[in-house]
């Protein structure tokens, strides 16, 4: 069995700062991490490999430094890493990203064996669209299972897979045919810690690095900025609210009473609304 897992290197959004005056992003020293959602996809793939045998290839499209993330994925136990890097890929939106990734997955199939499964995370924390997975599936003509919480059965002989998919209001149990693409839901597993042998292997492994040409991209205008139908026209910081919070003074009333008094003073209707609600329970 061959599984391809798409991972993305993202800036740790908790550490991004916006310049207080110019409203531009201050990137100095912002560390990068593997998109946290992708780790759930990677672990799901590794677990399937351990169970059924086969190989896991991790794939990322990004700058040369994204090799760090791939190497980390190898430390966790992935078998092979492919970095798709080229200036033509820069500035890609989801549509252009899916084109590049789909092309590379086809090439991976030709070079290392056709994948039975492709995994992506549910979404990224920078792009945050949750669209790349479905887009890649569409481009490769793969069936797609999004928001998967659990893979309940995999039958390699009959090429079928059964999975639990989170949907609005409940869980769908779906069955479909391989090859397919799965976007994995968060908090469904915990990434393993690779052993010393994996760590040593990862530290020395070659990351397969492909340019657009190497990956077999035929139409460069479908990549990066040029291949992106959407454009970002304006980036700006959220407006600060002018009004400051009213701070409750409780120097001479018990704090709870002081707070409630302030609330009902501010919104006189609130008391009846709350009373109605409270009675409902």
């Amino acid at each position: 069995m061959h599984i391809v897992v798409c991972i993305k290197q993202v800036p740790d959004s908790a550490q991004i700062r916006v310049h207080p005056v110019t409203n531009t992003i201050m990137r100095q020293g912002v560390p990068t991490i593997i998109n946290p959602y992708d780790l759930f996809a990677l672990e799901a793939a590794l677990a399937l490999r351990d169970q059924h045998g086969g190989e896991v290839t991790v794939l990322t499209m990004g700058p040369p430094s994204a090799a760090d993330s791939l190497r980390k994925a190898l430390t966790f136990g992935a078998d092979r890493a492919v970095l798709l890097t080229d200036r033509f890929f820069a500035g890609a939106d989801t549509l252009a990203t899916t084109y590049a990734l789909a092309t590379a997955i086809r090439k991976i199939g030709e070079t290392f064996g056709a994948p039975d499964l492709v995994f992506t995370g549910k979404q990224t924390i920078d792009g945050d669209t949750a669209q790349v997975g479905p887009g890649v599936a569409k481009r490769l003509g793969l069936l797609q299972l999004t928001y998967v919480a659990k893979i309940s059965a995999l039958d390699l002989d009959n090429k079928t897979i059964e999975a639990e998919r989170r949907s609005e209001g409940g869980v769908q149990i779906l069955q479909t045919r391989l090859p397919c693409l799965i976007t994995m839901l968060e908090a469904t597993n915990e990434i393993r810690r690779g052993g010393m042998a994996d760590a040593l292997r990862a530290a020395r492994a070659e990351v397969v690095t492909w340019s657009a040409k190497d990956a077999g991209v035929e139409d460069i205008t479908k990549c990066g900025l040029r291949g992106s139908p959407t454009i970002v026209k304006r980036v700006f910081a959220p407006q600060a609210r002018a009004e400051k919070a009213t701070m409750v003074d409780f120097s001479d009333t018990p704090p709870a009473d002081a707070l409630i008094a302030e609330l009902f003073k501010r919104q006189p209707k609130l008391e009846t609304e709350l009373a109605t609600l409270a009675r409902g329970y």
Partner: protein
């Protein structure tokens, strides 16, 4: 969507310059569409919220607003179309087929792509739900058009193009995205981000039906079963009128009970910040914020939550935000309406008692008698 990481300021100029005249074959694309999401016979409220937003865009563009209703043949789908008129639709496109009873990507993608290709809208809006995102990604890729996900604001620019604004970098910035040379311009919006428009009784208008054109054998994926969320455990956080939430400041899972107790007295839903989910104190469906739920209650009480940007973006739409925090400089006081600097672990029980006394003054007597 495009990634503004690549050079936000510079790209604005250089990329705008790439704008060309809209290709001829897209010029016939007209009108604003909203995909009406149903699952198991229920219309997801986000669809009506989008009708409100769609109406404004259509009026600005001076075009029609259409609802796209896809679902099983029968009462519920017809009812959804009828409702759409009460929420402002000028017409409705309907694909009704037994094969569409359960949501399946293949069938729904085919249905929606076909109507788009046939009737050619210039704007197509979907809810950013699990269903909406699953569908939007496939449809946009099939149509090879742009898609802006998770918008918080939709507007029409002077030249008539859709200006879709969304948070980026975990909410620390906003960006406005355009789909210039492609149609339709697609966008998804998360539930509770747009206000719910008023429902006005309205007779059913024009309905255009379109066939699905598939047989069951064409659809590979089968739904083996559906497990609805157990009602007791299911959180109704996103739609609650009152929400009480706790953060790391509570210090322990035991203290989180104080939040639940206050919520129960108020008839409120309870929620939390992300670290509590990560620590396993609270289940993930209770998380509020960028990677959790967006809420818009009348009253939001946050206890021991610092107010990080990722939390802030999920609660900003609340009518009245109350923050309880020991640190008078906590960022939450920058967007709360009412703040109190005190120990939440001591205040919460007192608040629970005070509300109990105030809201149902006889409850004690009853217990006593």
């Amino acid at each position: 969507m495009s990634e503004p990481t690549k050079a936000p300021a510079a790209s604005a100029g250089s990329r705008a310059a790439t704008k060309k005249e809209l290709p001829e074959h897209f010029k016939s694309y007209k009108h604003v569409w909203v995909f009406i999401e149903q699952e198991r016979g229920q219309v997801h409220p986000v669809s009506w919220e989008l009708m409100g937003a769609g109406r404004k865009l259509a009026d600005k563009l001076n075009v029609e607003l259409a609802a796209v209703v896809i679902g099983p043949e029968g009462e519920s789908t017809a009812q959804a179309a009828a409702e759409a008129f009460c929420y402002g639709a000028d017409l409705a496109y309907m694909v009704a087929d037994p094969l569409l009873t359960d949501y399946r990507n293949e069938a729904y993608t085919k249905a929606l792509t076909d109507v788009v290709n046939t009737y050619q809208p210039e704007i197509l809006l979907l809810g950013a739900t699990t269903l909406g995102r699953d569908l939007a990604g496939s449809v946009a890729t099939t149509l090879l058009t742009g898609l802006t996900a998770d918008c918080t604001e939709l507007d029409v620019d002077t030249d008539g193009s859709l200006a879709a604004t969304r948070p980026t970098f975990g909410g620390s910035l906003l960006c406005t995205i355009y789909t210039l040379n492609y149609r339709p311009q697609m966008a998804t919006v998360r539930p509770r981000v747009m206000p719910m428009p008023e429902r006005v009784e309205h007779p059913v208008g024009r309905i255009i039906t379109h066939p699905l054109g598939l047989v069951e054998d064409d659809i590979v994926t089968k739904v083996l079963s559906f497990l609805p969320d157990r009602d007791s455990a299911k959180s109704n956080l996103a739609f609650a009128d009152v929400v009480v939430a706790g953060g790391l400041g509570l210090g322990s899972p035991e203290n989180f009970q104080l939040v639940r107790q206050l919520a129960s007295v108020l008839g409120a839903e309870y929620g939390c910040s992300r670290p509590l989910v990560q620590k396993g104190w609270v289940t993930s469906d209770r998380q509020i914020g960028q990677t959790g739920k967006t809420i818009r209650p009348k009253l939001y009480i946050a206890a021991g939550i610092s107010g990080a940007i990722q939390h802030r973006v999920g609660v900003e739409g609340s009518d009245l935000i109350v923050a309880i925090n020991t640190d008078k400089n906590a960022p939450i006081f920058e967007f709360a309406h009412v703040g109190i600097v005190t120990d939440a672990i001591r205040l919460l029980p007192a608040l629970t008692e005070a509300f109990r006394a105030r809201l149902s003054p006889h409850s004690r007597d009853r217990i006593a008698s």
